[in-house]
């Protein structure tokens, strides 16, 4: 016979605390370590292969489009004003498209169905120091 009287137990507090602390830590570390002023370089990976590197120009007023062949079809990527986004993707969930524009180092856009990943790295004026911690 299973009899559970109490709704909560003292151990529950630890579970909540650990979750919140871990989330806060994981959220803070990349955010403190990224800089938004520098020009970033976007690296586009398909199946872990680097297929394209785009330097994001902050002064670029005209949107420019790139097409990358993903695992399930062509993915359209757009850059403008030092930002990059996935404009169109053949996946069902469109999570990558909803991620919208990214511009800071360390930010990523992922499309798992397409096996595609866009990662922002240090810009051209890289001083050789890693500013992003995972």
């Amino acid at each position: 016979m299973v009899k559970i009287k109490k709704w909560f137990h003292r151990t529950d507090v630890w579970i909540f605390a650990v979750l919140l602390f871990a989330a806060l830590l994981l959220w803070l570390v990349p955010h403190l370590a990224t800089e938004s002023t520098k020009q970033a370089t976007a690296e586009i990976y398909v199946d872990k292969e680097l297929v394209e590197t785009i330097v994001l120009d902050l002064e670029q007023n005209q949107a420019q489009q790139y097409t990358v062949k993903g695992a399930i079809g062509d993915v359209t990527i757009e850059t403008k004003d030092g930002q990059i986004r996935i404009k169109e993707a053949p996946c069902n969930d469109q999570i990558c498209v909803h991620t919208s524009w990214i511009k800071n180092q360390g930010q990523v856009i992922v499309c798992i169905p397409s096996h595609l990943l866009i990662q922002l790295k240090n810009g051209a004026d890289d001083d050789g120091t890693d500013t992003t911690v995972y």
């Binding site: 872990k48 798992i112 990662q119």
Partner: protein, 171 residues
């Protein structure tokens, strides 16, 4: 392997059916949040209840059957979504079972929240392996925080159900 009693077969069948139904129901619901992996985890309700009522091996059997049958019925069998759901379900099961073995085990709700978080961690780990980049860990904070409300909801539901199922003597 020990042969099963009729009772055991019936109970595993019953719970598998419920778990598959919830698995499919959840797959049919549109995702209200545009973040991958943030979902209610309805099928985890069955895993949770079984952990409190039956041996671990029964629960494991139901989880595996649910993921395979659910995968076949949603047409995602052996796709990336199937592997993610398998990874999530198994991680959640192992973590929840381990927490139950603690000297002072958490409540149903505590186990549920930890299970939800474990599910997300397991899924993200497999997703990272598939994309071969650890940068997916950027999603982890969102997924961990989202485990709290979803885990709470499922935990409260499980608590209500356990209070009502246990007097029926289904053990």
């Amino acid at each position: 392997m020990k042969s099963k009693t009729t009772r055991q077969i019936a109970i595993i069948g019953l719970f598998t059916a419920m778990a598959v139904a919830l698995h499919i129901a959840e797959a049919l619901l549109p995702n209200p949040v545009a973040v991958p992996g943030v979902k209610l985890g309805l099928a985890n309700l069955i895993t949770l209840i079984m952990l409190f009522m039956y041996p671990f091996s029964w629960t494991l059997e139901v989880v595996l059957l649910r993921v395979v049958i659910g995968g076949l019925l949603t047409g995602l069998f052996f796709s990336w979504a199937f592997l993610l759901s398998l990874a999530g379900a198994l991680t959640a099961l192992v973590v929840m079972a381990a927490l139950r073995k603690l000297p002072r085990p958490p409540s149903v709700i505590g186990v549920s929240v930890a299970g939800a978080a474990a599910h997300n961690i397991g899924q993200l780990a497999v997703a990272s392996l598939m994309v071969q980049q650890q940068v997916l860990l950027f999603y982890l904070p969102i997924l961990l925080v989202s485990a709290i409300p979803t885990g709470l909801l499922i935990g409260v539901a499980a608590k209500f159900l356990l209070d009502r199922i246990s007097p029926l003597g289904l053990q």
